[in-house]
């Protein structure tokens, strides 16, 4: 019997430069658990993209990462504006990020596609005006 390990982080919506703290911490924690480096890389990149999205679009939110025997699950929950057309948002190159974000090197419309690319399962639940919850899983086997 092994117990599930869970990490929870508040993602600060006001401070763009601090985005990445949660994913860096997760990277460190997973390394301590002895998880395979390639899996750590996939989890932390997918989570960083999600964190950046929450900062750019949703004034922050909460990230929860849990490690079970089968997979690592990342749940990103925000109370932002929601995504009106998920299919369109998933297209590479589509972005609604403002110009000041682009000067920082983001807003290329690659965030959600990267999150899908690096995970084995991804589900987006979103309601305009209410918020978005993204669930991602990376299999451990």
């Amino acid at each position: 019997m092994s117990e599930q390990v869970v990490f929870t982080f508040d993602v600060d919506g006001d401070d763009f430069t601090s985005a990445g703290h949660a994913s860096m911490q997760v990277k460190k924690n997973l390394r301590q658990l002895g998880i395979d480096p390639d899996i750590i890389r996939r989890v932390s990149i997918a989570m960083y993209e999600g964190e950046i999205n929450m900062v750019i679009h949703a004034r922050g939110g909460v990230a929860t990462v849990s490690v079970s025997e089968e997979y690592i699950e990342i749940i990103l929950k925000d109370e932002g504006p929601g995504i009106s057309d998920i299919e369109q948002a998933m297209q590479e190159g589509f972005s609604t990020a403002p110009d000041n974000i682009r000067t920082l090197g983001f807003g290329a419309g690659m965030g959600l596609p990267n999150m899908k690319r690096y995970t084995d399962y991804m589900n987006i639940e979103s309601q305009v005006g209410v918020g978005t919850t993204i669930t991602m899983r990376v299999n451990l086997e």
């Binding site: 985005a19 990445g20 860096m24 480096p37 932390s44 990149i45 090197g105 983001f106 690659m110 990267n114």
Partner: protein
């Protein structure tokens, strides 16, 4: 070639070198951070002109061997300190991204 070796080449100067013995394998060039996260491989030398704090997060998450700032771009003191703390090698190159990559290609 290690990152230390790279710093011995004329026109390449280390800004932070906490893990200079890391071996460089391949190169990725790009400034759009999500593209870099999607494409750069572990142990690559990443050539960019982006030098803000997010560059460090991307370098750490992709586990590149070093960041090479082309065109003589440098780091602000605060970012430099953060790079040192995060264990990220950052080198400034006097050359364009293209010429920097050519030099790396010849040296490897």
């Amino acid at each position: 070639m290690t990152v230390n070796d790279l710093c011995n080449i004329e026109g390449f100067n280390p800004l932070t070198l906490p893990e200079g013995d890391r071996e460089i394998s391949g190169v990725y060039i790009g400034d759009l951070l999500s593209w870099v996260m999607g494409k750069a491989r572990s142990d690559n030398a990443w050539i960019t002109i982006m030098s803000n704090i997010n560059t460090l997060a991307v370098a750490s998450l992709t586990d590149v061997a070093c960041v090479i700032l082309a065109e003589g771009v440098t780091l602000e003191e605060e970012v430099k300190n953060a790079a040192e703390n995060k264990g990220i090698n950052v080198i400034t190159s006097a050359y364009s991204a293209y010429d920097t990559a050519l030099i790396l290609s010849k040296a490897q």
